[in-house]
């Protein structure tokens, strides 16, 4: 297949010990895993109206905080972007609380149910920034980031609009973490466009990717600068992908996507 191209204009990172894009790039450059990987409490999302803020779940706080960080360097207004949210099990503690209620009293609160849909973060994002554009939630287990990137880039290509891609995993609480060992919440946010944008639009880098059948090569090895336990987090692959900003141009990151490999490389841009 032909390769698809996209531009990265801004990115944000929120993971234990890596709380910004510069921090991610430093960790990647040094080839060192974050030293402190205890999770900081997630901030209350200031962009939401006060009544919604109080009711926001951990995953809503996680995604909105990461988006807020990313918007600080975005060349596009928040309400002009389409959005793609990519996650494995995107409800985290809410899923466990729902199951607990159903296994015991069967008394489910209206708020708990409302927060139990996979698209709660994208819904709150649209409310917080009055964004009336399309919002989509893409999920494919540990390959959720690759499938979300595919959705985001093809949306940017077909509409000509900038797209906000948010890759995230809320921490799973006990006992659900016995089934899905996602112990640390993490998120990245990407603001991308496809095709040629105005040259004055700030840009971090440009990327290209192809899809190739799995049998042609193997997925990339887990990067040494990310904790091995994060391999169980779909969104950690988006941290790995942002690491391409520190790699030599045309270094290929191969991510599994079903029976395909998404082969991603940085093709130009100011990677410094």
């Amino acid at each position: 297949m032909k390769s698809l191209h996209f531009n990265l204009h801004a990115a944000g990172v929120l993971a234990p010990g890596i709380d910004s894009l510069p921090a991610l790039r430093a960790a990647c450059r040094a080839g060192q895993q974050p030293t402190s990987i205890s999770s900081e409490p997630l901030p209350s999302p200031s962009a939401l109206p006060a009544n919604e803020r109080r009711r926001s779940s951990q995953v809503v706080r996680l995604t909105l905080a990461c988006i807020e960080q990313t918007l600080q360097t975005s060349p596009f207004p928040a309400d002009a972007m389409r959005s793609v949210f990519a996650t494995d099990e995107g409800t985290g503690e809410v899923c466990q609380q729902m199951l607990e209620a159903l296994a015991t009293t069967r008394q489910v609160s209206p708020l708990l149910f409302t927060n139990s849909v996979q698209n709660a973060p994208s819904g709150y994002f649209s409310i917080a920034w009055r964004n009336r554009q399309s919002a989509t939630v893409a999920s494919l287990g540990l390959e959720s980031f690759a499938s979300g990137l595919l959705c985001a880039v093809t949306e940017a290509m077909s509409t000509g609009q900038p797209v906000l891609l948010v890759a995230y995993d809320p921490a799973m609480t006990s006992p659900m973490d016995e089934l899905l060992p996602v112990r640390a919440a993490m998120a990245t946010a990407w603001i991308i466009t496809a095709g040629s944008t105005a040259t004055e639009t700030p840009r971090l880098a440009s990327f290209a990717f192809t899809l190739e059948p799995c049998e042609t090569s193997s997925p990339s090895a887990w990067p040494e600068w990310l904790p091995e336990s994060w391999a169980a987090h779909s969104s950690a692959r988006s941290l790995s992908a942002l690491g391409l900003l520190e790699a030599a141009p045309n270094t290929v990151l191969r991510l599994t996507l079903g029976a395909q490999l998404l082969c991603l490389r940085r093709i130009d841009g100011d990677a410094a």
């Binding site: 015991t104 139990s116 849909v117 698209n119 709660a120 999920s139 880039v153 093809t154 089934l179 079903g258």
Partner: protein, 382 residues
Amino acid sequence: MHSAGHGVAALWGAVERGRSGLRPNDLLWCDLSGWIGAVPEVEETALPTHLHAWDCRNHRLAWLALQDSRFRQAVTAAISRHSAHRIGLILGTSTSGIRSTEIAYQQRHETGHWPTNFEYRRSHSVDALCRFAATVLGLQGPMVTISTACSSSAKVFLTAQRWIDAGLIDAAVVGGVDSLCLTTLHGFDALQLLSQQICRPFDATRNGISIGEAAGFMLLDRAPAPVHFLAGGESSDAWHMSTPHPSGQGAQDAMRLALANADLTAGDIGYVNAHGTATSANDRAEAAALAAVFGERGVAVSSTKGVTGHTLGAAGIVEAIVTTTALEKQRIPPSANLLRPDLDLAPLDLVAEARSVHFRYAMSNNFGFGGSNCALIFGRSD
């Protein structure tokens, strides 16, 4: 696969006559009152031995739908034409196989141990549906599960179109599956959106939804066909997590975008299959949006949820199948269970009995929690 029968012909037969597949809740594992659209066969269905690890209510429904021989022949032909690597798989679901985890969690709660045969990844995981369907159909192209509540399996059409247009794939299997579970039954009950009667979309006496379960699949290809998917529009309400914008602003955006993307005007559309859930707020907002886009009584409208129930993440595909069949047959299905149209809503040309008319284009609306809206436009190719 739906509560009114097995297959497209059974769905159309029920929808055209307004014959409901809903019945009072008789599930042994849920004591809520109200009406449901259950698929009777699903309890006794067994997956073949090599697929046992995937067993859950959602995949049983999917499996029953995937037995359709015409669909399977079409997929097989597409694989030989394009190769399995060039066919995408884009499916919608809201709760996937969560019923399995509900059962397993109960046991974990009581005994401290998960059932030994419980596999989260192959039942409840959001992507399980895609991986199960890919295994059954032998597809090896890129895939994704879309989970945006009740718009999930409408949005799959737009994702497929974008992947085909980008040259990533030559064809796509799209669809959606959602199955009855305590999560949605008790969840909608908590929101007081579950009707105690059979659901009556756009009726003056409507008081909520009847939840149904369904599985549906379609093959999208550039090859000639009697009906085409033309375009769609997607938007967000940016208003409230579980209540639509009162004048359906987001719904209007989605419908207008769909028309613009299809190069059509409102006057070209002969029929709208409404989201029409039968909640007070949805039908009011949707009627306002329809009147704003098409004019008062500007287009024939019906909701077929009185037949199938609200199948949540499968509603998009079920109603896309209804809409394309209506175009093929040049028949507009009625809004089932209608007693007395709600005159307090913005005036609609609400279809009370099936009509035979000539129309070339039709729209299907689906709106979901999180203010997620999607409108699809289909057209006859002649």
